[in-house]
Symmetry: C2
Subunit: 215 residues, 2 copies
């Protein structure tokens, strides 16, 4: 269950709040980019970045020199998956079918080397599943240059909009087309690094990710 | 030209800052969702929302009752387009090819009715090009329920990462595959609202948006 706090309560709009923690996990596991919100000198800053999840913890990473992750201040991490463009009979009811998660909290700077390793593994695997075990693991120097943050999923909300437009009843008789244009992200066949020295094929786990449309 | 301020200067990372204002426009015009960062009671909040652009102004809208847009406080609007998963020979150099724009400023609450109308038109057309002129326009009641904000693009930065992995020279001889898996968003054929009273086909401007892959 996702508990409700003042800022995760959703009062407005057609998008429905979900309270199933499994939906939060599924959404986070499907996403690739999160938008990390921080306050710097009183001003908001929103940065796109990768992330990974292990259980009820979200891992983020950055350079030890990155200003936005210098202090373990309060953050808001938002992951949004766009599913469709909702085209209504009225301009007012145009909308997006989407799933979004917001996570609030103050991340912990991870110091335990084992957890730092597992966090970085989760972040890499979120981006490129199957890669961690086949690539060169981080060196001591690379580990030292990387800050790993852990954010609890204790305070999180999930918002989902699905389905057809929510037009006014009075507009239904109007002869205007209405519907949803589905939107999705696809993975295309991999492009090998032109600098590759060896004549190696892309690994199966990469090829398996290529989107194949049912024709 | 995009002018550089302290917070739009990019000091780190392989992603390159761009200074061409045309690149900012192109990126914003291609995106569908922005992530709006605000500070509420000292805490960051990041909300996915639609937007539209007219010249050097970004328009946002919300319900007049939405707490996050109550005051015209400072915001950061980030638009991120993901182009590919960068798979390196080392875990450390895994990355994302992406284009992202960050816009900083204090939005103006638009009060002029003509500008409010044009702003809403831009937001709707960004989401669903061609729809504004064929759907029922906003009623006086709907206009009254909608807050339109205008954010100047004066303080903005664009960051772009393209190309193959940036592996260490010392890793190049390693027999590990490396490359990029392209990622893109596709529009599928529209799904008509089951509640449509008239037997109307989806309009041409909607069908024209459907992604057609070269087979």
């Amino acid at each position: 269950m996702l508990s409700t706090t003042e800022r995760t309560r959703l009062n407005r709009g057609k998008a429905k709040a979900r309270t199933d923690r499994g939906e939060l996990y599924d959404l986070l596991d499907e996403g690739l980019v999160c938008h990390l919100g921080v306050v710097v000198d009183g001003s908001p800053r929103v940065l796109p970045t990768g992330y990974g999840r292990i259980g009820d913890t979200l891992y983020l990473h950055g350079s030890t020199g990155a200003r936005s992750l210098l202090a373990a201040d309060e953050v808001c991490v938002t992951v949004t998956l766009l599913d469709g463009i909702v085209m209504a009979r009225s301009g007012f009811h145009h909308s997006m079918n989407h799933r979004s998660a917001m996570v609030f909290g103050t991340p912990r700077v991870v110091t335990d080397e084992q957890e730092r390793w597992e966090g970085l593994r989760a972040i890499t695997e979120q981006l490129a599943p199957g890669q961690w075990d086949v690539v060169r693991p981080p060196s001591a120097k690379e580990m030292a240059a990387t800050r790993v943050l852990a954010l609890s999923l204790a305070e999180a909300s999930v918002k989902v909009r699905t389905g057809p437009p929510s037009d006014e009843e009075s507009d239904h008789a109007t002869p205007i087309w209405a519907g949803v244009q589905p939107v999705r992200m696809v993975f295309d066949p991999p492009v090998t690094d032109p600098a590759l020295v060896h004549d190696l094929p892309a690994p199966d786990h990469v090829l398996a990710r290529v989107t194949r449309d049912e024709a």
